[in-house]
Amino acid sequence: MNSLVIAGLLLVLLGVAYQSGWSRSRALATTNGVKVHSRPQYHGSYVAIWALVPALLVVGLWAWLGDGITHNFIVSQIPVETLQSLDQTGLNATIGRINALASGYGVAGEVLPYEQTAGDALRSFQFITFLVVIGAAAVAGVAALLYARSRITARHRARNAVERVINIALLACSAVAILTTVGIVASLVTEAIRFFSFISPLDFFFGTVWNPNNAGSAGNWGSYGLLPLLVGTLMITAIAMLVAVPVGLMAAIYLSQYAHRNLRAVAKPIIEILAGIPTIVFGFFALVTVGPFLRDAGNLVGLDINATSALTAGVVMGIMIIPFVSSLSDDILNQVPRTLRDGAYGLGATKSETIRNVLLPAALPGIVGAFLLAVSRAVGETMIVVLAAGNAPVLRGNPFEPVATITVSIVNQLTGDTDFAGPQSLVGFALGLTLFVITLCLNIFALYIVRRFREQYE
């Protein structure tokens, strides 16, 4: 209610300020015949910005400090002897009762006399402070309004001032991206350092056993070896690439070189649908359809394949990555100059020979870059592996067995637990940092290769 009133008053102030700047500027333009530098709406905006900032400052200051002041006021209203007899929970309960009395809602049961007086006092205190804050905000806003209005002359460069404010606002928005990166790096690094104060980095990066003791108390933390997770991650990534690269690349080649225009127009968007499907859907698909299918297929040929295994997760992740590989390869193949292709045809090469011997070598750096981007996506993918990889953090090389990955372990160690006291949950950040660094390196390397390649034809 109060915040609605304040927002309404601020809006009124804004409107009045804009109108006053606007009319003043119009008056200048029509009365003394001088050419006014800025158009009226800029003067209006100029005054509005001037008026709004101090008013917002006052309101913001109250939002920041107000709760503390009110709390102190309530405590000061409770008789000293009562106050001393109350512990923290009791105090909170009493404050809650006084607040309820002040709001006019009342409390259940007997009302103590001091509670009633405190409630009444709080009520008037809240009313008075509300008036004071609104008054102060209004006075500050109106004073700033009058000052800004008085500065309006024909030569006043209101437009430049307004544009400067717009510029600052735009810069602040771009800073969000930097802040995000800083936030990611800072939170990952600080929490990872805290983790390394429990577990030595050597044990983490070169340990071969992953067995965190989630119920453990001091000293009995379990083992946090990264290697089983890293091997699991790499195995699934490799399987995914084995599926996605041939299918994606051949699909891109066929669509860009052979396919009829109509087939291309239909097939390309359909394949790209795969890129837009949420990964949880792929995870479910892997769990209930692909996994059992692979298990049964393995049984037919005498292979012992687990329904949840590196193979299941890898195959489904490969399907997910196909459009990624195919559309990037497609773009890169299309960038190869026509002259190269026509030259090969002129020498009598067949289409496939041209593609294999001319187009692919020319596009190779770009395609490798695309593959690296796909790899980094596979390394960071979470939901498919959470559902379909089986979560068995054991160091082994058999893709038919369940494995665990870095992302799975982050989810397992951190879900629902935000009390970062022990290595059990802090390890999530060390894993996150590892993942971040791996994908960052892959991305930078991929972008480097892609960019270098592009310059060749320019």
Binding site: G106, S174, I184, F284, S352, V386, F429, G432
Partner: protein
């Protein structure tokens, strides 16, 4: 001379023969290559088709539910509670509320299962021999709450008989649909033999009928009563998050793209911002979850499991996409437009906001919708900020506990009652995919429509 000509012609014949022979091989390899390409396309399209057919086939059964039509009697012998409190003169809100709560608490302590049991027995053929626990296992466990709430809403029902539809329990549904092999012995069945026979009786005499499962859209998730578990809570939670993403990511993203593309001086700082944004776009989504857990929850103490945190995390994740797309759109605007605006005396800011930005509007809108659609399907970061918690309420504000559609899918796929929850999970996926397809459709429609005009 003559021998030379002869040998040349012989050589040429020989060469032609060789070329002919190799040509056959080359054409064969050409055909193979082509077939491989076609196979790759068919494989990729096949995966798409398989995925959709599989999900729809699995999810379709969850869109029907089995309803039990009961005549429920609010028997005064079973419902022994004081009459509903009436507000007295001068009573404070709090006191009345307390009295009302006490009355409802008293009602809650009554055994409403007896009411349900009585009406189930009334529906069964006369003299049917079945014990209390068994007969109650047919109806969903939350039927008693449903009946109690009817009474709380209208205490005058006491002594009357009303027709009520309640859901059949998940086990009953499994039995009716044959999700569990009917020939299995008693030990493997969830329901006792008399209960199973009574269900068949009910289906035969029309007490149990199938209908469209509105409950999946109108109910919140439920653990005790699986058959009535619905998506409403997750849907509203997702809606809150998407609102936050739209209201934060779009203005901030477009503004920073404008700054970087139009105003930023070429300096170290802006280069750094640019590299940064490209890298952010490729950071795995789970890392954003770590950021949310550490900064928003652990450091800023925002409420755990709340859409506001999820919305903020997804906003940060979506920002780079929107920035990159908007920059691309701004870059595509013809220089002639800019120069014309500047030539007419517009300032740089006016040029951007009055002339360049309106032209790029379709592309920005499309990119935004696609970015939001992507954020909509994201699961992993939400797990880390506690949205995996079980929440059986519709979040009224972004600060309330909530879950989201993809997380609900994750929770349901892990439910131990596989026979019943697998279709339900697939149904939830269908709802999610439908929302995404709608968003994408809107994006495509807007792009084609607005770009034609521009």
């Amino acid at each position: 001379m003559a021998t030379d000509t002869l040998s040349t012609s012989q050589a040429s014949v020989e060469r032609t023969r060789l070329i002919r022979a190799s040509l056959r091989k080359r054409h064969l390899s050409e055909a193979i290559f082509r077939v491989l390409g076609l196979a790759a396309i068919i494989l990729a399209l096949g995966f798409v088709a398989l995925l959709f057919v599989d999900i729809v086939r699995k999810g379709a059964p969850a869109f029907t539910q089995s309803n039990l039509h009961l005549a429920v009697t609010f028997d005064p012998a079973l419902i022994k509670a004081d009459p509903a409190p009436v507000r007295a003169e001068g009573q404070s809100d709090a006191d009345f509320q307390a009295a009302n709560l006490k009355w409802q608490r008293d009602l809650a302590l009554l055994n409403w299962n007896k009411v349900i049991e009585a009406s189930l027995r009334a529906a069964a053929p006369a003299g049917y021999d079945i014990d209390t626990k068994e007969i109650l296992s047919i109806a969903e466990t939350d039927a008693r709450h449903e009946v109690r709430e009817m009474f709380v809403a209208d205490p005058t029902l006491l002594g009357k008989t009303v027709d009520v539809d309640v859901l059949a329990s998940a086990n009953a549904v499994n039995w009716i649909r044959g999700n569990i092999d009917r020939s299995l012995g008693d030990a493997q069945q969830q329901l006792s033999a008399p209960a199973r026979a009574l269900i068949d009786e009910f289906v035969a005499n029309g007490t149990i009928t199938n209908g469209f499962a509105w409950s999946i859209f109108t109910n919140v998730d439920s653990r005790a009563a699986p058959a009535s578990a619905g998506l409403l809570g997750a849907f509203v939670g997702t809606l809150w998050m998407m609102l936050i993403v739209i209201f934060l990511a779009v203005p901030i993203g477009v503004a920073s793209a404008i700054y970087l593309e139009e105003f930023a001086p070429k300096s170290r700082l802006t280069d750094f911002i640019e590299v940064n944004i490209n890298n952010l776009a490729a950071v795995p989504s789970i890392v954003f979850g770590l950021l949310g857990a550490a900064v928003f929850i652990n450091y800023m103490h925002l409420p755990i499991s709340a859409p506001i945190v999820g919305g903020l995390v997804l906003t940060l994740m979506t920002l780079p996409t929107i920035i990159i797309a908007t920059r691309g759109a701004l870059l595509g605007v013809s220089p002639a437009l800019r120069q014309a605006a500047l030539g007419m005396g517009a300032s740089k800011t006016q040029m951007v906001f009055h002339h360049v930005l309106p032209v790029t509007f379709p592309s920005i809108l499309t990119a935004t919708i696609l970015g939001v659609a992507h954020a909509l399907g994201e699961t992993a970061p939400l797990l880390l900020i506690g949205m995996k918690a079980f929440v059986a309420a519709v979040p009224a504000t972004p600060l309330d506990q909530a879950t989201a559609l993809p997380v609900q899918i994750y929770l349901w796929q892990g439910n131990e009652n596989r026979n019943f929850f697998e279709p339900r999970t697939a149904a939830a996926i269908m709802v999610l995919l439908l929302v995404m397809i709608c968003l994408n459709g809107v994006a495509i429609y807007l792009r084609s429509r607005l770009e034609k005009r521009a």
